[in-house]
Assembly symmetry: C2
Homo-oligomer: 346 residues x 2
């Protein structure tokens, strides 16, 4: 249940069908199942599917049968697979579930939307991205409550790109939002471009820097690895992510990531030159970095949480309430995107 | 108490006098006091000193009186201040505690040792560096048990640089080691140069990358900060460190840090070019970073801890036992430095 707006799975109007039961898909299956919402899933790996079935979940390793069932039950389909598997699943949906609404949870949104538009499926698609995870993957990494207080981005480009919008698309959009709220996430609306630019900065660049730090530390040999402490452990944590997943997200968001990386390189070269000077001085870097981190803590609610005695921790993101389909809602969504605001729907 | 070798504070032959009661000095005071070892301290900030006194600790804001007491009790003096305050404290020790053994806990070791040698104090000095901390500072940030399972580097350059070694120096060296073991740390011996090169890679570079990531994320504005999740939070954590402390450690280890940063820049430029190519491909970065992280996890014992049911978690660092002062101990120390091994003394 959403911790502030009381949304439950009763607010989702359709059963949910999840394709891919890794960390994200598996955790979503667990939460919806725990809330008694009708949910079933497909997993390519038979061993993963069997583990899920053994735990009492309604899961199959037969994609065609799962999609046919989704079609007959008018389920909302969730593509919970890496970018590299999106094309083949879209083709399967075209064939076996030709009318279902669907969403995805890939960490890049432009590339997915392009693949959707290439098949002319945008009238029944709503992009999404839960900003949650650990360095582990697969069904074994899935867990209860993964999305609690996580941001879940929901896209809305169709309102501005000439897609023929009707009440069906709006109801799919609403279901995706309600599903995210029902598992405890904070929904932030964004179009695919701004999402990808932001994700490049705060997620994909984090991976690139973590891999780099892991390598430079390791290059120092045994003494260096022995001396590594908490800061190195935390900053290299995501370098423990399956390299195939790191590649899938970074390579499919290359344009935005190159821009973020170029900004980082400019800052790093300035720091390098300041350190190599006769009187090393990194005042600017240390001061700016500190102020940026404090702003982030304020936004994420970490500062407030430290000082609060309330058992309910919410972020400090502003919140906007909107009613999908009313004349003003496009403007409200753009407003929320600009503010990085979370939304509630009524 | 050391969790594997049973060292207690009984093995420290002198009282301990701590100058500077911030995160490190304050936490050391707490642990030694809790173990009933005679310990007293000095803090420049009167409010910090008063807080410590109010909690029942033997603390003063009078440096001269504290050093005179250290002299009369033959205490081991611990300089627990940032690099920028080392020179003035060394001068005070020269004047008021002209015969005491002393150590420091600064995160760079060459700069401190140079300052020590410039005053011809190396025959009673043993450098050390506990690799422990949080992003917070000051007495208020000090805590019990901060050093448990942390690495605590102890230096030994005097055995190789022509310093006139006698039994007093060896007993100071042994006391520093026993003090670190008694508060639960793992002692890794290293000379100042190899320490600083390793610390540049795994600690100071971590700070530079964290500041940079914090700034690039912040540059993305409200949406970007709203979308930042766990990986960004953990990777920018140390950007929340007091900028003055970040400057003190990075600027005083500038030579080694520039080398580590140049390695990082080479890797980042390669990644940048791979991402900007027609077919973006960061296979090399993702694979190498993953393997490096796995090697780090193996070394730090994190992999083993995950798989173990034992309540005692130790690192996977090799352990060498040695007896200070025996003919072979210089070789054993170099051996331990090369392996990044922890030591126990007998």
């Amino acid at each position: 249940m959403c911790h502030t707006c009381q949304v439950t799975t009763k607010d989702i109007s359709r059963p949910v069908c999840i394709l891919g039961l890794g960390l994200i898909g598996g955790s979503l299956l667990r939460d919806l199942h725990a809330a008694n919402h009708p949910v079933f899933g497909y997993n390519r790996s038979r061993s993963g599917a069997k583990s899920a079935v053994d735990e009492g979940f309604d899961v199959s390793a037969d994609l065609e049968a799962t999609l046919q069932r989704a079609a007959s039950e008018d389920a909302l389909i969730v593509l919970a697979v890496p970018m590299t598997a999106i094309d083949s699943l879209l083709d399967a949906i075209l064939t076996h579930a030709p009318n279902n609404g669907f969403t995805d949870v890939v960490s890049v949104k432009t590339a997915v939307y392009d693949a959707v538009k290439a098949r002319n499926m945008q009238h029944r698609y709503v992009g999404s991205h839960p900003m949650a995870g650990t360095a582990n993957s697969g069904w074994g990494a899935s867990m209860d409550g993964l999305f609690k207080r996580a941001v879940w981005v929901v896209t809305f480009d169709q309102l501005f790109d000439g897609t023929d919008i009707n009440s069906t698309w709006i109801s799919i959009w609403k279901d995706v939002v309600q599903m995210a709220l029902a598992v405890g996430a904070e929904v932030v609306p964004s179009r695919v471009g701004p999402h990808d630019a932001a994700a490049a900065r705060v997620s994909h660049l984090t991976h690139i820097l973590a891999e780099t730090l892991a390598i430079v530390g390791d290059n120092g040999g045994a003494l260096s690895l022995s001396l590594a402490a908490g800061s190195y452990r935390d900053s290299t944590r995501v370098a423990g992510t399956d390299p195939a997943l790191v590649r899938a997200m970074c390579e499919s968001n290359a344009d935005a990531l190159v821009k973020a990386l170029d900004e980082a390189l400019t800052i790093l070269h300035e720091a390098r030159d300041s350190l190599a000077a006769e009187e090393p001085n990194i005042e600017q870097l240390a001061d700016n970095g500190y102020r940026s981190r404090i702003r982030y803590e304020a936004r994420s609610g970490q500062r407030r949480a430290k000082e609060s005695v309330s058992p309910t921790i919410t972020s400090s993101r502003p919140v906007l309430r909107l009613h999908p389909g009313t004349p003003n809602w496009e403007k409200q969504l753009i407003h929320a995107e600009t503010l990085g605001a979370r939304i509630e729907v009524f």
